[in-house]
Structure formats: structure tokens, C-alpha cells
Symmetry: C2
Subunit: 361 residues, 2 copies
């Protein structure tokens, strides 16, 4: 848990704040002064990018994918959606792109421009500050590249923005990188949590105060939201079930914002079921895969854990049948409402709603 690199949070805050800043699609400077406070909000702003770039699994997957697909990029026009520091735009120029439009919604665009200049690519990369839905590109693009994935794929996800650019600005036979995305679910068992709840019983010995009643409350709090961390492969107690497998050249905004799926899982052996874990993979042409599975090297996305209200015992071949829905929260579309229902060997029906917000722990 301590070594888990997953901490990506509040990624789009800045983007949200500055969505109205540039809507004519022209390259424009941020007005100094009034925006400064927003621009230097906190070290967290730059920390997120530091963390994403230091996630070598993520960044190298994109790097290899872009360089390996140089035949699709060389001499072509590219849109980089949610460019951030601009690293994917630079990779595309290194792969031979004729022109890259780096679209960045937040005030970080100022930095993106500096990175472009520092890499002497100002003639090839044009930074456009504005939301993807408003931005006007000077021409249609052959390729879209974007790192849009959030926790559990869809939390704070930029995918609808990417699809908007695809439908509005990509040529008919254009290529989208990554080209597909899959989401998986598996049941998990988690000893750490029982240990952590024991903290409350330990108060008796530590301070001569009984606090067992806090365990119930702690359990309820625990199962209210989602948790992001790197789970051990041993804690996954059945083969995962694929919930979603989207071809990103075809999927619609409606399809990615209203997920309703069923799943079936068969337990490996005797264990205690504490909840369900979600992770995703995205794939690029030429067989490059970025996986956030617990069986792969850790990324800053970790895995996303949903705790059940009650733990239950399972045995070898116990069947878990369930349903899951995932939708942006109506009031706060950055956040995600998740509902998981399941039964075990056709008994013991449980249903639970979760709310994925900035409070992710």
C-alpha cells in the first residue's frame, strides 16, 4: 500500500475552472493578474503532472505506441486531446507528424507552449487552449492521441471530449490512439481492512477507552465511496470478467456515459469476499497494451475497490452473479455514481450504491 503509486486526484479541477477561458479556438495568451491565482493554485497542480510523467508504465506505453505506429503518424496531422505538459505531442513529432494540435483546457497551456519551444517544435505543434467541445481546429486531423483514462476508467474521464473531437475533427479513415479500452471486474478479499478496523478495538489497551462501536461506523464509511490502491494478485479471488470493450473509433458518448452490465464470477477457493475491484486496459495498434491490472506492474491508477456492506464466505466454484451501473453524477458530472448488485449461488442478494468523488481514499 505504501509503495502504491496511485494518487491521481482532482485532475480536471483546473480544466473545469478555466473551461470558459478560450472558446474561439485561436491561440491566445492568458491574461496576467486575474488568472495568476488560478494558474498557480497549489503544488498539487504540477504534482499531478510530475506523478503522471514519473509513471513510466503509462508514459512508456504511450511512447512505444506512438513510435511503433510511426507509419500512421509520419507526415500526418494529429490532435492531442488534453495535452497537459505536451509530452504526447512531442512524441508524435518524434514519430514524424507534420502537424500536431495540442488541445489543453487548463491554464497549463502556457507551460505546454514553453515545453514545445524548449523542444524546438513550435513550427510543428500548435497549442490550443480551450475545451475540446469549443476548440476550432484549422484543419481535419488524421490521428487523435489522448490519455483520457480516469480511475475505474470513467471517473473524471475525458473520453466524451475525445469522442467529440473524433466526430467533429477526425478524417473518415482517421486513427485513434489508444484504439480500444476494456474494463474488468473481479471479487477481492482484503485482510488489511480487518486489521485496520482492529485499530478501534486497540484503543482499549492503548488509552483505556472502549471504541468497538466505531468499527461499525468505520465499515459504513468504508463502503460508501470507492478506494484507490494497488491490490495484491493474491487478493483477487476469481478470474476477472470483462465488463466493457470499446472500439474507440465507433463508440458513442451515450455508450460511455451509461454503463449497465451483468457479470459472472467463479471463485478459486475458500475465502472471504470483501468487495469488487475494477481495473482497465487500453490497446494501441501494433500490439501495445497499457494495463492497470493487479497482475501487471503498478501504475498511478492502481485499482479501484468497492467494499460490500457485509463480507461473506465463498468456496471453490462459488458463483457470483451481479450487475453494475456506472454513470456521471447528475449534479457533478466529473463524479461517478456506481451501483453494484450481486448474489452468491443465487442467494444472499446485496445491492449497494457508491459515489466516486474527490473524497476517494
Amino acid at each position: 500500500m505504501e509503495d502504491c503509486p496511485c494518487k491521481r486526484k482532482k485532475l480536471d479541477d483546473d480544466t473545469e475552472n478555466s473551461r470558459t477561458m478560450s472558446s474561439n479556438g485561436e491561440e491566445q495568451e492568458i491574461k496576467a493578474g486575474s488568472q495568476d491565482k488560478e494558474y498557480f493554485q497549489s503544488y498539487a497542480d504540477v504534482g499531478i503532472h510530475e506523478e503522471m510523467l514519473n509513471d513510466v508504465v503509462r508514459t512508456n506505453a504511450y511512447r512505444y505506441a506512438i513510435l511503433k505506429n510511426y507509419e500512421k503518424i509520419r507526415g500526418k496531422v494529429v490532435a492531442d486531446v488534453g495535452a497537459g505538459t505536451g509530452i504526447l505531442s512531442v512524441f508524435c513529432v518524434q514519430a514524424g507528424a507534420k502537424k500536431v494540435y495540442a488541445i489543453e483546457g487548463s491554464a497549463l497551456a502556457k507551460q505546454t507552449r514553453l515545453v514545445v519551444e524548449e523542444n524546438k517544435m513550435a513550427d510543428r505543434i500548435t497549442v490550443l487552449q480551450g475545451r475540446a467541445e469549443d476548440v476550432k481546429l484549422p484543419e481535419k486531423v488524421d490521428v487523435i492521441v489522448s490519455e483520457w483514462m480516469g480511475y475505474a476508467l470513467f471517473y473524471e474521464s475525458m473520453l466524451p471530449s475525445v469522442l467529440h473531437i473524433r466526430d467533429r475533427w477526425m478524417k473518415k479513415d482517421g486513427v485513434i490512439l489508444p484504439s480500444s479500452a476494456s474494463l474488468y471486474i473481479a471479487p477481492f478479499s482484503d485482510d488489511e481492512i480487518s486489521e485496520r478496523l482492529e485499530t478501534w478495538s486497540a484503543m482499549k489497551e492503548k488509552y483505556k477507552v472502549s471504541m468497538d462501536c466505531m468499527k461499525t461506523y468505520a465499515k459504513q464509511c468504508l463502503s460508501y465511496g470507492a478506494h484507490v490502491r494497488c491490490i495484491c494478485p493474491e487478493d483477487v479471488i476469481a478470474h476477472a470478467c470483462q465488463l466493457v470493450n470499446f472500439d474507440l473509433s465507433k463508440v458513442t458518448v451515450q455508450e460511455v456515459t451509461d454503463i449497465q452490465r451483468t457479470f459472472e464470477l467463479t471463485c478459486f477457493g475458500s475465502s472471504v469476499l470483501h468487495g469488487f475491484v475494477l481495473w482497465f486496459t487500453v490497446s494501441f495498434p501494433e500490439n501495445v497494451i497499457l494495463s492497470t491490472s493487479p497482475y501487471s506492474q503498478s501504475t498511478h491508477w492502481g485499482q479501484t475497490l468497492f467494499y460490500n456492506e457485509e463480507e461473506c464466505d465463498v468456496r471453490q466454484d462459488t458463483q457470483i452473479q451481479g450487475t453494475i451501473t456506472m454513470k456521471p453524477n447528475k449534479a457533478k458530472p466529473r463524479f461517478l455514481d456506481v451501483n453494484i448488485g450481486f448474489q452468491i449461488d443465487k442467494h444472499n442478494i446485496q445491492q449497494k450504491s457508491y459515489y466516486m468523488s474527490d473524497n476517494i481514499t
Copy 2:
């Protein structure tokens, strides 16, 4: 940095949300349903209390202070301001208190009651849910106990609420625990930050992308807000200067919400000054001191670091003269506006405003 226990954040969020919930001072149950969502906001809510209780330096200081001062508490009436899980109320009964009024603003009051019942103290401890400013106690109190301190003493501090209870509900010769609070400032040097900024230069080797320009931006972000962590004693480069030493039986709300001080520091030897570090101590009668100094055992408060815009070299006996102001932010009174100005050997004047918000990193 990894072992630093300091993570106390958003402590009063819940309190803020539920401030209007109970204003008649009667013990009242939270309405189920509508409040549930607020009540189980996230594991972070219970996590904060878990963290504070697991901070043995903090909790044992209060325990020893209360038990050592049993002569002031035995047979007396006590108010516990911001009771949280109720542990200080339980300590007071263990020290012989006749009656404790546990005032808790947030919906956690429900849990406080359960803890009281579990410890079979329902006849001695009455939990009052409501803000300190609104709550009506059935009688005046002999003793006030409260753990009100925030980062840098005053961030999200409950001190004004404690002073309100003191002025409205404490008997003339009442005792307030802790009885005094001091705030210290010292200059610090920090190699870790230079190393961290090197991350951006390392991108060249890692991914063949130059990102030196991000260092300037990262530096600016860094010096925008405050940072909470446990600093090494070696990084403190001069003896600390006491900024504040409040006698809590006398200090006024005005005095604790409008801090303006000067300070003078004499450097130990040749070093690089990166910024200023703040920490506090609180004292109880009978010589019990809770210190959050870098020279003491770490607490979850860590120390609070303010980075200067520019680093500067200092030598042995270099004089640093400065001013500091600390005031609640006008728009968001939970947050703190801090301004630090200083000159070195009467040259090199720097002035910087910081904003302490939930974005503390």
C-alpha cells in the same frame, strides 16, 4: 517524508456542513435518511479520527495532562469543545469529573454518544450536537478541555469557538486545558525539493523530451501555498523565534485571528535558505507539554513549510529580520492568509503571500 504521520486535512468540513443542524442546545437525534449521505461521506471522515487517535504523542499528552490535573477535574463540570470520538470526555470522567458536556458540531455526535454508552458513562457525559457558538449548556463549567489546534496552530483552528465557550460558559476561576499555546518560526534549508525539481530535467534522459522550463513553474506552484511534512532537525538553520505565546484564559478572539509579528533569526552557519517553517506547542498545568517541534517526536501535524520565491545563501551569524501576518481568509474563514516578509543582513528584501487551503500538500 514517507514516515511522516502528518495528513490531517479537511477536518472541519463536516462541521461546516452541519453547523445549522442543532441550534437549540438540546440533545437531538440526527434525522435518518436525509443526513445519511452527509454522515457517511467517505472513509476520510473516520480516517481523520483514526489518524488523530493513532497519534500517540497527541493523545497521550492529553491523557497525561487530564489525569495529572485530576485535582482540578475531580467532582467538577467540564466542557469538551469539539469532542470528536469523545475520548477527552472519557479521560475527564476517568479523572473524576462529575459531569462532562461533549460539544460536537458534526454528525459524528451520533458516534460520540455510542462511545459514551460503550464506556458506561452516559450518566456523566452528555453529548450536545451543535456549534459552540449556538449550544446552550444547562450550567456553567469549571473546566474546558479541547484539542483545537490546526496546522501552523491557526489553520482550520477551533480556537475562536473555544474562547466563545470560555467567555459564555466558564466560571470565573475556571481552568482551560491546554492553558497556553506558542507558535515558533525558523528558517529552513531543503535539499529534497531541489532533488524533486530535478525530476523535470530527468525527462530528457527518460523520454527524450526536454522539460527544464517546467522547473520554474513547479517552483512557483511550490511557493504558492503551505506544505505540511516532518522536517529533519538538520534542516532547521537557526534557533527558532517565538511568534506567539497565548495565555488561553485571557486571550481574545481578535488577538488570535489577527496575528502580526516581527522576528529575528541568526543563522548557525553556511547554508541555503529555502523558506520558513512554523510549529507550535501547547502547555497544560503540571508541566505537560505537547510539542510539534522538529526536535520532538513526530505528530500528525508535522511542521508547516512556507517556501520563498527565491533561495538565498546565508553564512554563520547572518541576520534574518522579518514580519509575518496570519489571518483567516475573508471569503473562506477556515482557510488562512499568511504573509511573510524578510531581509537578510538588511538587504535582499522579499515579501510573499501564501494561501493555506485544502490544497495543502
